[in-house]
Amino acid sequence: TGEVSIDNEFYNVSVNKNGHIVIKWKKQNIELTQSFHYYEGMEGNNEEFKNRSSGAYIFRPRSSSVKNFMKPGSYKIYKGPLVQEIHQYVTDWVCQVVRIYSGKQYVEFDWLVGPIPVKDKIGKEIVTRYYSNLNTSGEFYTDSNGREMLKRKRDYRPTWNIELEEQVSGNYYPITSKISLKDNENQLKLSLLTDRAEGGTSMRDGEIEMMVHRRLLKDDAFGVGEALNESAFGEGLVIRGSHYIIGGSLKNLDELAVEEKTLARQLLLRPWPFIIPVETNSSRPY
């Protein structure tokens, strides 16, 4: 009671007055703020380019600015010897657990989004933003099907001159398992690892934006013939997933790379638990 933050040997994690999560690195000068937002999906008759709808194939927000969740929400903190957690409730349909384990060099965001309300007849695409103090000069790195990391530059294509008319979707890239930021001036690096393939970008220097859930009411006319409006038990889908934040100094690049790769391997090939029931009255030794 009265606690406002959790911490381990690497991080201090707290909630600010806007209801955003703030992470401070204890050994490096990195600070990161995380928050949820959403885009409203474009709806049109698909007959002309400007009337294309956002759907299963294309992400096309109605506006390039995100919508915010109005109230700061509420949170509870649970502390123990192995793990410390912030349970945060952003709205009725967006919440998360932010978790740090003792001795583990990552922060876990275990988010739960849905069912996305569409009573207002507007499709919504939910994103989470991690905004850091890294100076990234418009560059970020995304993986390619879990293989090499490719350098991406905002509003840029390597083989032709481009002028993006739709800035947000034009800068979104597939993130199969990792997106990274580098600050060469201050020798800092920040990476986000996913538990599934998602879309992501860096719309501002120092920021990572990840799309976690979408519910759209109109087909985008690229072939599927259905709106991306999945439901279960008569409601929109509820999605639960995780992001893992890890970062540090580029001066210890080898050490950081080992930490990142070890975490990536452990997320991809997690331990498999099998359960063997035990009869309470059994005299058999376990």
Partner: protein, 174 residues
């Protein structure tokens, strides 16, 4: 081999670009889920047989014991771990030693976790399952908390832990 074949077929189907990107029709998505589920069930049987063989090599008594897996741990749901006592056999598919946090959904209470390799009790912790997770449509069961402990697992090997509920009604204070 036959059971693995189901898994191979499922993975073959899932390589279609619609399955990879999620642009299939909803009925097709449901069918993919059905195929993948059946494949995973068959794969799980193979794992059970392997683990049973391993466990019974030292003691034939274990050869016939039942083993279960929980495919809904992603929503913190597992009916088998809601019992007062159970054994967890945890396999590490990595070729290196890992110390990994393990989370299993349990009912409210105080638990002890014993590493069967040396018989020592290891540190564990109970954290509540958020209400929003407990309210996920279709989620059943009585698990209100998650039992957390660190499993220290050998490369490409397994370890067993016994979990025992010592008392009920321990309230988690935020």
């Amino acid at each position: 081999e036959k059971e693995l074949e189901y898994f191979r077929e499922a993975m073959g189907v899932m390589q279609h670009h619609d399955a990879v990107t999620g642009t299939e029709k909803q009925l097709v998505a449901d069918d993919y889920a059905r195929i993948l589920y059946a494949g995973m069930q068959q794969g799980t049987n193979v794992s059970f047989q392997a683990l049973r063989k391993w466990r019974s090599s030292g003691n034939s008594e274990f050869a016939s014991e039942n083993m279960y897996t929980c495919m809904q741990l992603n929503i913190s749901m597992c009916l088998y771990t809601e019992d007062e006592n159970f054994v967890l056999a945890i396999y590490n598919p990595l070729s290196q030693k890992v110390v990994s946090p393990i989370r299993v959904p349990v009912q409210q209470g105080k638990y002890s976790v014993v590493d069967l390799t040396d018989g020592n009790e290891i540190a564990s912790q109970i954290v509540p399952i958020p209400e929003s997770v407990q309210k996920i449509p279709g989620r059943r069961g009585n698990a209100t908390d998650e039992l957390v402990f660190f499993a220290s697992l050998p490369p490409l090997g397994y370890k067993t832990y016994t979990v025992k509920r010592n008392s009920k009604n321990i309230n988690q204070q935020p």
